[in-house]
Subunit: 108 residues, 2 copies
């Protein structure tokens, strides 16, 4: 394995540490069509629980993939959106979605 | 959320159940450049242990993403390669790799 390949694998491994979870892709995919509130995200990502959503959003924020904005409304509201870095994952998401539609259920 | 969006999310969720693990992407990415023996894969996917590699390869085989071929050599040898369905994940892998190189380490 060449040194370059090793670097690529290590870099992708670091990225997958952040993105690799089953829910993370779906959170990012859901935010592709615009900012969402916590409850909206929780409804859209079918099967996720509150604790997992809080944890994954925090990780995505730490890595500047998701942005959290709080508004001093009454009651206060919080919105989540993709940063530029997050939006750049669209190509990956669309490619995965295309593969899923065309290939995932094929058996032969 | 439209019915179509729900279906997309459910389908991607099923695909991510199979692909979502941190190691699975790396196994597929490593097999993109050709068939590998078990030990070759174990060395290439830095940090994976034997048990995880056995488990992930089995899952990928069950979903016809990876093919396992045994040869009656002495000692017997086994090779793993991507099926057509597996190779179609190349676009997703390349997109993720491009994002990783260009964006993953960016902080602002």
């Amino acid at each position: 394995m060449s040194e370059i390949d090793k670097k690529i694998t290590c870099d992708m491994q670091s990225a997958l540490e952040v993105l690799g979870g089953k829910w993370t892709f779906l959170i990012i995919y859901t935010l592709l069509d615009g900012k969402k509130r916590f409850k909206e995200l929780e409804r859209a990502v079918i099967g996720i629980n509150t604790r997992m959503l809080v944890k994954d959003l925090k990780t995505l924020e730490e890595h500047r993939i998701v942005k959290r904005e709080a508004f001093a409304t009454i009651p206060p509201t919080v919105e989540y959106s993709l940063t530029e870095k997050g939006r750049e994952l669209e190509a990956t998401m669309r490619a995965l979605n295309n593969w899923t539609i065309e290939w995932f259920y094929k058996k032969d």
